[in-house]
């Protein structure tokens, strides 16, 4: 990467991505060889929204590299509840840490942080914007299972508000990947993501049902359709049911189909799928640690 921050996958080239994934693979092969690398390094965890996997895997990644983490805790117990701006909060924390991991409900929050602090900023999810570190572990998982070229990927669920979708689609445009977008019409890709995809030369292929495109897919990336996006509970139930992945639907898929999900899932993927050869979502979550170790190594190592 040319910068010492990671705000969006749109800033990443294919070479940037492959460098991080290669480093992650080396770390996974030899996870104990990195423990003394970052003794004394402090990573600031600033999560303005709930998080389990992202927060804990960054915590684990920094500690496995020999460093430590400081966590601002919940918003309710912080100065934010007193009305402090994000700009002030991160400027203060920048004096305590060597890098900041930020999750925030507003789109573009990480971009703001980057303008107010001199240490590396990592976007761990900003509103409906981007979630680039999730994408890196998604790509790592994809590469392990089916490779990253000459593949067909279906991305299903909430494409309008899903930040993991926005990040993934942009990153995949660096590779020889046919992308299919599967969602109800009300949750199709937003205008800016379509623009960016067209601008990068990618074709946007859209579908409203999974079955029609499923046999062609090497990867099915499922995301959660959130209940609060629908004004009517019955409508939510009807739509969510159409995109539920179970073994019946998967009987129409290629035997080598890889099913992924950024988690947490609610009922988009039936538990019966967990034990099939298709399921890769827990492996995907576990990959968060080596991938984030590789990213921290790339960003903090350069900044030091």
């Amino acid at each position: 990467m040319h910068q010492d921050h990671l705000l969006s996958t749109t800033q990443l080239s294919r070479e940037d991505i492959e460098t991080i994934l290669d480093r992650a693979a080396a770390i996974e092969m030899n996870p104990d060889g990195w423990e003394a690398q970052y003794s004394g390094t402090v990573l600031g965890l600033c999560f303005f929204e709930p998080s389990t996997r992202t927060r804990m895997s960054f915590d684990a990644a920094m500690k496995r590299l020999g460093g430590r983490t400081i966590d601002m805790g919940s918003v309710d117990n912080s100065s934010i509840s007193k009305g402090e701006t994000l700009a002030d909060t991160v400027r203060v924390i920048a004096g305590y840490a060597d890098a900041i991991v930020l999750r925030h409900p507003s789109d573009g929050a990480a971009k703001l942080d980057d303008e107010f602090v001199d240490i590396p900023v990592i976007n761990a999810g900003d509103g409906a914007g981007q979630h680039p570190t999730q994408t890196l572990l998604d790509l790592y998982t994809m590469r392990e299972n089916v490779g990253l070229d000459e593949i067909t990927v279906g991305i299903a669920g909430d494409l309008k508000y899903g930040r993991t979708v926005h990040s993934l689609a942009a990153a995949l445009s660096n590779f020889d990947v046919r992308q299919h977008f599967i969602s109800p019409e009300s949750l199709q890709l937003p205008r800016n993501i379509r623009y960016d995809l067209h601008d990068s030369g990618s074709q946007v292929r859209e579908h409203t049902d999974i079955e029609s495109i499923l046999p062609e897919l090497d990867v099915l990336y499922v995301t959660r359709i959130q209940r609060e996006r629908f004004p009517d509970e019955n409508e939510y139930q009807r739509v969510a049911g159409q995109y539920r992945v179970d073994t019946d639907i998967l009987s129409h898929a290629d035997n080598n189909l890889t099913v992924m999900h950024p988690l947490p899932r609610v009922d988009e993927i039936a538990p019966e799928v967990d034990t099939t050869e298709h399921a890769a979502y827990f492996e995907q979550a576990h990959n968060g640690v080596p991938v984030r170790m590789a990213l921290l190594d790339a960003l903090i190592g350069r900044a030091k």
Binding site: T85, A87, S106, G108, L112, D126, G127, Y195, D196
Partner: protein, 178 residues
Amino acid sequence: MNDREPNQKESKESVNDAVPRARKVDDQQLRVSKIRDGTVIDHLTAGEALNVLAILGIDGSSGEGVSVGMNVISDRLGRKDIVKVEDRELSQSEVDVLAVIAPEATINIIRDYAVVDKKRIERPTAVTGLLFCPNRNCITNANEPINTRFIVLDEGLQCDYCGSIVRESEVPTYLDVA
């Protein structure tokens, strides 16, 4: 984007000419008088004059004379708006910001009643503090100490923070000039 030089006829249409030549021009000059020194922003799309003043932060509060002609008859535009600002010469960077709402505009710098410089609007790569972001969830709409910034695309603008796109036709809706 208009990248051609104004032709002779069009430049004569400027309402700052010293000598009236036709009834149409006479009528215009009755409505919008000549200025001795300052800037004439001509060939604005009809209806944009007040937006242009707002974008440029010109409200007369600093004492400058401001004349506005709206829906003036124009050979080139049918109807146009025109703005004259006395005793102030707009810089290139000031006029470039008009590209997103008035790409056809011409800017004449006037000294002692004569046009001494003609500026062409050049499309900027980005505009700061001009629009508010249509995405209510964008960090620029939160109470943070930042200005909006939009990257100028071929047919619109893109928020540099959240990526939201504003088409050119939508720009007047999102002008942050209250």
